[in-house]
Amino acid sequence: MNEIIAGIVSLFVMLLLFTTGIELGFGMALVGFVGFIYLNGVHAAVQLVARDMYEVITNYGYTVFPLFILMGQIGFNAGIAVRLYDAANKFVGHIPGGLAMATVMGATGFKAICGSATATAATFASVSIPEMDRYGYDRRLSTGIVAIVGTLGCIIPPSVVLIIYGLITEQSIGRLFLAGIVPGLIIATLFLGIIYVWAKVEPKVAPISERSTWKARIRTLPEVGWILVVFILVVGGIMNGFFTPTEAGGIGTFAIILLAVIKRGITFKSYVKSLREALGTAVMILMLIMGSVILGHFITITNIPQQTADWVVSLPVNRYLVLFMICIIYELGGSFIDDLAFMILATPIFYPAILRLGFDPIWFGIVLGVVVMIGVVIPPVAVCVFVVKNITKEPIGRIYKGVAPFLASLIIVWGLLLLFPQLALWLPSMFFK
């Protein structure tokens, strides 16, 4: 059997293995290990798995995961999301669809410190849905917006998706962060627009709630201000070279802790809770990466990435069509495996081809971010929707009716990104040369 066939066979075996319910990371590691034995002998293979394990969990770059995840977890446990939502509510609650808009604004603000889509969906499902229920909002709108709003974290910094992409492709995480801001804000604005139009067309969906006084509004401002300060500290510090994106994780977490301590939003107990939760997510991601590193080393010696790149470049079609196909593969793959896991798995295979086709790697990172945003809400594996379903007990079909218009706007932004790469690249080009 030649290397390439061995590689393709083992990728199929791996998909089969995944269906047995094995941890995806461990499944990748096993297939990589056995494949390496087949092509390179037992001694090399056992050395490879041990050294890859050692290297992944002593890699400076990966320290960014536990740090940024801890930052979001503390923000979550310290009740920052709730207060952001309240603040937004005071300002826009009274306009048509205002409570849903406040959810988008609160979540966008919260995303500035938290990279996890599921954590956001969970928070807002338990905070803003009851509020919307109280004013008689249609469950389609309230569950739909909450299910999709968490995905904003895929491209608004500090996004875990972009960090993973940056580490896999050795692209600057700082640049990726900046590149994600404009598309992220466009999507948030589109969400707001859709809510407004929907509430105007079908007023029953979103009954108007009461208007707050300016006094009450101004009192909420410091809350928003604090988060803005932390966000500017993190992103601004990276842009100005005061610290690296990796260090920014430590700085941001520290700032959030300080903020929480000052506001008495955190106790030692909730800090320990945050630590344990953050470690859970960080271990999950790093074990996926560990598996994909081992698998990746096997795939490398099968020469599949090289051959894929050669083949893709030689295709007699427009390069955008190739890019489109690659995005579809991510979408399909992410539908059956976890989207993040699939991105970790597939990027090393397709990335060389993307480079050879002459696409900008930073821009492709943002495109992938939007692809993952779409992926995490479309079935069968749609974590955010499941979270909302579990909390609200609303049938999946009904939630999807609410998700649909917002999903359409994600697809539109994805198309816009393909047409106008500047949407992503303009901001980083202002700050880096």
């Binding site: 390179n40 002998g41 001694h43 090399a44 050395q47 490879l48 050294r51 290297e55 050795e170 600057s172 100005n240 070279g241 005061f242 690296t244 990746g296 080393h297 490398t300 010696i301 020469n303 990435p305 090393p348």
Partner: protein, 327 residues
Amino acid sequence: KLKFANYYDPTHLNSVLFEKYCKELNKKLAGKVEIMYYTGSTLLSATKVAAGVEHGIADIGLANLSYTRGRFPAMEMIDMPLGFPSGYVASHVANDFYNKFMPKELNAYHVFMFTTCPPNVIMTLKPVKKLEDLKGMKIRGPGRIGDIVKTLGATPVPIEWGDIYDSLRKGVIGGTMLPLETMKGTNSGEILKYVTSAWRIGSVYTFYVLMNKKKWDSLPADVQKIITDYNKDFLEKWPGEWNKIDYEGLDFFKKNGGQVITISQAESARWVKAVQPIIDTYKKELVSKGFKAEEVDDWLKFIRERIEYWHGQQKALKIPSALPASF
């Protein structure tokens, strides 16, 4: 089929050069053996190359000694600030050193070749004319370079490679200690203003190209011969390439208004004296690892002789060198 692992990014000179190396060697081998080339850490990352080749994860590997500090103690002598005037000289000295002493730390490998980067020099925003000028200056220097920076009186900062340009621009660091070549490689030549030519304390990073010994022994004699002959040719070319890009770096720096400061013989002697403790400390470390002090002194003497010899060759063959032969 043989797997050649190189940790450098595909666009770096070292990757491009060895891509050519593999292509030409494959032509000469005419299908008897094929070398598959993997760059950019796709197979082995920098810290894993040595172990990976020893254990057969790859068959051939390229990396430098600083990534496995302690693994090749005798060869690491070449990383000491012994006064290398150019990459050409240091590369030849490294190979002579290996051929003469055959350190047993390399027993698991068949050595293809050693080469070194051009010597590290102090490049700064403010002029450094004497040792005292370095006091309190923040100079980028991880690992051994950091030790050297420290004994010279400056503060070492281990900024990552990709952050050099921005750190200089924002004044997070006041300079670097790297080969001149990096002026262009990182664009830092646009910002840096001064280079202090103190080649008498010139130190290098020593690169190796190693092959798994067992695998090598399993190759047919004719294949071994083709590879060995080709390595010899290549070794003549590579060090010259280093000199060339070092020269280009200097050129780039000068075009951007940079200035080279030459120091006097007396000042140079002070620098040499300042870094002596590093060499002494390393000698102690080697002795504690079971080497004899006389043995180490022999090495040092040999290295110094070979530097003289190859410096002479460089001049005689009119090989251009970026550093002026001042003190």
